[in-house]
Symmetry: C3
Subunit: 350 residues, 3 copies
């Protein structure tokens, strides 16, 4: 009946910066992470700069993350081979003078890594010279703005997590009362724009969301400016403005751990009429509750796709960004050229 | 050495009624089941009649069983799409007036379902018009008869569970003392008959089984009438009669959950010289003990078949029905025509 | 970069004796083991001699290890079929006089088995007539020698476990302080010899190992004689001599349970200046600690090889025996002829 089952919406993106971990998570000892299915080990060189190597000793394939950092080099826990931030082997204990150390075959593949705005970023192509810098968070250190960060692990593809983060209709339903409410009184218009490396949906004439969160953000009600954005490689951004006083920007960086596991680094930056110390104790539990509800649904979606051997999605005009996100991800994974910018409009009841 | 390993005795049967659950297990909320590897969701429409849909929302593939029943329709827990008993989509929250609802692509595949004699039955081919009604249990509500029901989950194929249920030689050995005893004093004759959609074994001249259960059924001893039957799609029936007063009929409906998991719905209907309230407290624990012993052996058989990559069975003339059961299951799965009825006789010591 | 990923170093060896279990582990009831991925059942015939059959009843494929031993025969727990030490079926309960018992199709495949020096040995080719006897342990019952045995299970290939057991450089590093110490003051020479069915490394001019174990073995210091040997099919032997008084021989028989699980039967035979009752309480915990450290590393190696889909090893001249061990294992698995004996020398700092 209807469309056949298609493979899950999974891509691997080359030449892209992803958040590997929060800066504070990478301390003195090595840290094992997985990026797009590839095990990597992070460590800090003598100058404190982060380094990322393939998590496999070239000698006998023990994970380097089981070793320790000695004088800014990563020492394997089995035979004590030492590697620098570029993955070059600097020491093979037991070799006599003149023994060959530092051969290419003894090197661990290195991935570009750097630290920026509180995160350790890793480039997804080893040995490459990154053509660009990682994403920068708007208003992060601007006067009057406060920022909260949270980190989540979700059992779903990057595409599913991004679509969920930018999907409006489910918020009234799944998160009923927390953010929007199920009664749909307002018919609004959505402008959907597609660009070469990002897409956005602008919601026109949307009244202040009626749930608890909406009342906190704009106690006096009113019409909000609301943008949902996807930016390659895997950034989902939701922006609300209400007059000159209220501004809330949630930027979620999705790191593809493996095909069906995504780590979400959420950065919430806001300026509100109420002081931040008053708002945070309310916003945080609401955000965590919303996330927990989404995580349950996303995991169930992943499991169902696995059980049925693939996806069989049907969409309506309300699914404004999911298709654009997938098109951008596919283009980025294949290197296919982006088409011309486009725009279309959709009506929605909220 | 000897016969090569063959694939496990697994079939998928189209156009067949299977018990999905006991009537009382399907209450106000949806119930997830699996039939022949396919996840289904059961729910009750406004009139209380059971409905069965593929357990996957056509929109974003969340299991519909995570949702809830609202006004006799099944509402998905993610975006609130609603489905009726035929799987048609009746509501997409957020769509403006004139938005397309009820499209074929928005429908969830529906499986014929009905309620009969205390069970919810589901037909194994979606969208089909069943040519026949589900099996009816003999003597179920007849005066003088009592009935006990039990439900079991076994890690084995339907074929293995049916063969076990209809196999006499193992009862003396595996269930020694409970039903038959290992000393084999009697040589009896078995008539094996094969028909188009069922097979049976009639045991001639069999003395009352000598274990505890036999003594309960026929305290005075004597010769019993004993039939073991297999009826397509997956019904195993054991019938004992001892004169006009004792009659015991165990009908087990095997529901193929997946290739190697079978749910057994056992219906034991009996008329005995002793009153039912006196017999039940003895028969039930004996039946549960027998089942538990069989479940251990069947699971071990399944695991061994998995470890060895297939079956390598050897049979003797004592394996009177296993081969007939497999032939009928194969015919039903391929639609191959049944051969002429046949009959042969076997001698056995019990 | 460098060598491509290659399949894991896994072999299956025909026509070889492996230790199945310690003699004392095989008591009155059957014992399930797995040899090179094949489930076997061990039991003792009426005369106490061990027997090994494929762990699958030829009738309905239940594991025979679920049954019991009756009069020196193994009785299946499902229908009571009985098998002798050669796997022949001797009884099918329920068959009438003249029923066919003992047919070839009813036999369970038998593997040659025998008991020697405290172990039950099984030959890896069923139905074969072994051309040789199992390995005999040197000095096992010699006057002045004591023996300690231990049994370990490791999540790694036989090749990985053997290489680890015969690898010197990691001892200073992974087991730092217990056996050797990381400071590498001495440059010594290693003679590596390859023969048709074994290989060895002789360490020339090696001072007494400086860790705790070394001090126990040779309180007075001095130069040791040290041999590391691999003997087909899967024996790793480490021998130390210090003058006429100290002699320590660790022989580890590796039984390939499955591709990535190896059971190690270690036999430590020694003659030391100190009495055995004084040495054992020290040597045993040190040996167990060393083994536990190796087991962690080997398991991590196996997991990494699995994650990366194969091996990508780089070696130096310090990896003196790993390559020879692999060559011998490959020859034994394919039946390829061995080349001429060879010898080469390597320098190493210890």
């Amino acid at each position: 009946m209807a469309a056949p089952v298609t493979p899950p919406s999974v891509v691997k993106l080359p030449d892209a910066w992803f958040v590997a971990c929060a800066s504070k998570a990478l301390k003195r000892q090595p840290l094992a992470i997985t990026l797009q299915g590839t095990p990597l080990v992070l460590f800090r060189a003598a100058d404190g700069a982060p380094a990322a190597l393939l998590d496999r000793c070239p000698h006998r394939n023990i994970p380097l993350s089981m070793g320790k950092v000695v004088d800014g080099q990563l020492e394997c826990g089995y035979h004590g081979w030492c590697f620098d931030a570029l993955g070059q082997c600097r020491k093979v204990p037991g070799l006599v003078e003149g023994g060959a150390v530092g051969l290419k075959s003894q090197a661990a593949e290195a991935y570009p890594a750097l630290e920026q705005e509180g995160f350790v970023w890793v480039y997804s192509t080893p040995g490459a010279a990154p053509a660009s810098a990682p994403y920068r968070f708007p208003h992060l250190d601007e006067a009057g703005y406060s920022t909260v960060r949270h980190e989540f692990l979700v059992d779903a593809t990057v595409h599913a997590v991004v679509e969920n983060a930018l999907d409006v209709p489910h918020t009234a339903f799944l998160h009923g009362g927390l953010f929007r409410t199920p009664e749909k009184k307002n018919e609004i218009e959505v402008v959907v724009r597609r660009f070469a490396t990002h897409a956005e949906a602008e919601y026109l004439g949307e009244p202040r969301p009626s749930g608890i969160a909406g009342r906190l953000l704009a106690p006096g009600g009113g019409v909000v400016q609301h943008f949902d954005r996807f930016l390659l490689p895997s950034i989902a951004q939701v922006e609300y403005r209400l007059g000159p006083k209220s501004h809330l920007l949630t930027t979620s960086l999705m790191t593809p751990v493996s095909d069906f596991v995504t780590r979400v680094f959420a950065v919430v930056t806001f300026r509100l009429p109420l002081p931040a110390w008053l708002v945070k104790p309310f916003l945080t539990p609401i955000g965590l509750r919303i996330f927990a509800q989404d995580a349950v649904v996303l995991k169930a979606q992943t499991e169902a796709i696995g059980r049925f051997g693939g996806e069989r999605f049907t969409s309506t005009e309300l699914d404004v960004l999911g298709h654009e996100v997938w098109r951008l991800l596919k283009q980025a994974s294949t290197g296919e050229a982006a088409g011309e910018p486009q725009e279309h409009r959709v009506k929605m009841r909220t």
